[in-house]
Every structure is written in structure tokens, then in C-alpha cells.
């Protein structure tokens, strides 16, 4: 992932509404969620939702598909993973203390080499 793409993604993620959107969409997997359902679930106006969804889509973090009159949005787990990997590897040089963030649930249970 190039820096410019990572920057777009980080800008997109640096907003409360959009972070909630990602959170909501990650949970729904490939099926996704219709715009109207998202609006109701997060209590966001239609235009505001559309603005934030298109910001996320432009950044490549989510995708959409039309199904009759509904538009379903879903998170692109691959791209989101790439953004995190970019922070981890290209910006932080896989710094050992930072890498530790990857094993929070198993913290302390891994041998020193990992």
C-alpha cells in the first residue's frame, strides 16, 4: 500500500461517525447493511450518512452493491488490514514494542521470540 492511499484511509477513519460505520459494517460480513438500516441504527441523517459512506468508499475501506432499491454497504476487510499493516510495518518498522499490540488477548502467553 502506498503512502497516499494509507493517508486517505487514515483521514477517512479519523472521524467518529465513520469509525462507527466501519464497526457496524465489519460485523455484518459479506451481506452488508442497507443505507437505511445504517441510518436508523446509528441515528444519522440520510445526507450525512451518504457523505460519510462515500468518503469511506472513496478511501477503499468499504464497498457497495445495489439490490433493487436498496444499496448495501460492506467493509473491505482486506483493505482495512492493509492500512493497519502499513502503520505497523512501513511506519513503525515492525518496532517490537508496537508489534506487541497484535497479541493483546494472548499477552504474555507467547514465547519471547514471537
Amino acid at each position: 500500500m502506498e503512502q497516499s492511499k494509507a493517508l486517505n484511509a487514515l483521514s477517512a477513519l479519523a472521524n467518529g461517525t465513520r469509525l462507527e460505520l466501519v464497526r457496524a459494517l465489519i460485523g455484518t460480513g459479506a451481506e452488508g447493511l442497507a443505507a437505511g438500516d445504517i441510518a436508523r441504527r446509528l441515528d444519522v441523517s440520510a445526507s450525512r450518512l451518504s457523505f460519510h459512506l462515500s468518503t469511506l468508499e472513496q478511501a477503499g475501506l468499504i464497498t457497495s452493491r445495489r439490490e433493487s432499491r436498496h444499496v448495501f454497504y460492506m467493509a473491505d476487510a482486506g483493505v482495512i488490514g492493509q492500512v493497519i499493516a502499513y502503520l505497523l510495518n512501513d511506519c513503525c518498522c515492525a518496532h517490537p514494542e508496537i508489534r506487541a499490540c497484535c497479541t493483546p488477548e494472548t499477552e504474555g502467553s507467547l514465547p519471547p521470540g514471537l
Copy 2:
């Protein structure tokens, strides 16, 4: 890490100059780098540098110490790790496909359980 702190950190990281700053400071460890050296290295004006450094410091991503007339800046690896962990766990629910980003260099070389 709370969402508001993570959002501040993401905003701070979503800028090319500041990402370069983090990159440069991560490499210098606890010693850090004096502002003037950073300015020369990244070819950034003093006031612009100061602005971006204070943005990063306010977000908690870097710290500073004065030494005679120099001010040394260093990255806070712990906080940077927390931000990445927040994205990974609190936003992406440790989604398996996204978690895969943590093992790019050792990909395929770990047993399935890790």
C-alpha cells in the same frame, strides 16, 4: 484506549508530514531527534515543523525533552501500539482477515492457532 483518544491519534497520523515525522522518530529510539535536525532531514520550515510536532505531541504520539537549547522529540511506541490495537480489536473485532495483517513477514510460518 477510548475512542476520542484514538480519533485524535488517527487525525494526527492522517497527514504526510506527520507520518514522516513518526517514521523518522521511531527509528531513533529513546534518544530522539532535535527539532532542527528533523527540519533539515525532512526539509520542512521551522514553524511548520513546530506546528506538526505539537499536533503529534498533543495526540500523545510523541514526547519531548529540552536539553540546553535543543528540544529532542521521540516517538511513544506504547501509545502508537495502542492506536493500532484499538483499530484491530475495538473497531474490527479482531476480524480474522484483518488480524492477518499482523504476520506479514512470518506469513504461513506460524502454526494455525497463532
